[in-house]
């Protein structure tokens, strides 16, 4: 079983490498142009965030909603407070707005903001709520 998994991983890695080689240069050349974050580094390595932000958010959202853990390290409010545009305090609105821009680029449906506000709160309120605003 372990040997099988190893073989599977190896095959997958090979396949992924081949795909990356094929798609790589295009992706680098035409990345989305996004608003710069308002402050310091992200709560995780950006590469990891790009791939796994939804996993982090889902994990912590259940902690917050169901068990009252506040503030969560990975919270949507945290994303919004750092990445909202300086012009209109929002992560949505155009293809340079952080969340919308990347999701349009990656063609992934974004429905968080059907319920959550895309607007950042004033900094004082956010830090009182313990958001990672640095």
């Amino acid at each position: 079983m372990a040997a099988f998994r190893l073989a599977a991983r190896a095959a997958a890695a090979l396949l992924a490498a081949a795909l990356a080689l094929a798609a790589g240069p295009v992706a680098v050349a035409a990345g989305p142009k996004l608003d710069a974050p308002r402050s310091g580094p992200c709560v995780e390595d950006p590469k990891l965030m790009r791939r796994s932000h939804m996993e982090f958010l889902k994990h912590d959202r259940d902690d917050t909603v169901r068990r009252g853990v506040r503030p969560a390290k990975h919270s949507l409010a945290g994303c919004v407070s750092c990445h909202a545009s300086r012009a209109d305090d929002s992560v949505l609105g155009s293809d340079t707005h952080f969340c919308q821009g990347c999701h349009v680029y990656a063609a992934v449906k974004l429905d968080c903001f059907e319920c959550h506000t895309p607007k950042a709160r004033p900094a004082a309120v956010a830090s009182a709520a313990g958001e990672p605003l640095r």
Binding site: A8, R9, A11, A12, A13, L15, A16, V43, E44, L48, R51, S52, E55, F56, H59, R61, D63, T64, V65, R66, R67, G68, V69, R70, P71, A72, K73, H74, A77, V80, E114, C115, H116, T117, K119, R121, A126, A129, G130, P132
Partner: protein
Amino acid sequence: MNPVDKRRRDFLGQAAVAAGAMIAPGVFLYDYAKAAAPATPPAGPPATSGPVSAKVRWGMLIDTTKCASGCRECVDACNRENGLPGTTRPTDSQWIRKVDLKDLRSGATLSAPVMCQHCAEPPCVDVCPTGASFKRADGIVLVDRHTCIGCRYCMMACPYKARSFVHEPTTGQKTEVPRGKGCVEACTLCVQRVDRGGRPACAESCEAAGHGAILFGDLNDPQSEISKRIRSVATTQLRADLRTDNGVRYQGL
């Protein structure tokens, strides 16, 4: 085996092999991506609240003798705190409402706010097909909008008409009170305040307005103000015959 059957079987067999060949790399890739992500995210800053514990049970005591007819402080405070528009069409959400009552025998009138009663045995939680309707360890009954499919069965089951369905797209939500079209919602006992040691906006505003008709506290703590009051005066739970054991109690009803 007749030739038609043979042909059909061969076709099915080939189709299965082709489908397997198409799906397998995706499955492996998924596995690979999972393996690349760290199993446990590194520890974050120490949480200021939670996980909540069953040692406390939040509740409220509403003194109808102090609740002023026509006063809407609690309703307005709730709307402000939770980003509700405050309109009152039959399709609009109302997390808390003022009910005017007239005793059918004596003719006496009184007034009281009604909101989610945060039952210990909530019918809405029992009937919810996906488990989106749930009770936190500390007794607060909530809707997890991430898994609510909008079937409204909980609204059918609630004895208190405490829940609202979001009938329209929403904007202008508060950061800590997400709400949107197609999900059911109700009073959260201002969970975002309670988790930080605060109390619900309605209770705070009622006191600020000089009525003090809404007392919030821990029903499990015998030393809490609310527990002492419940021991010393007669209080009732709405529809007590249903034995839902509500966290919200009424005095003077």
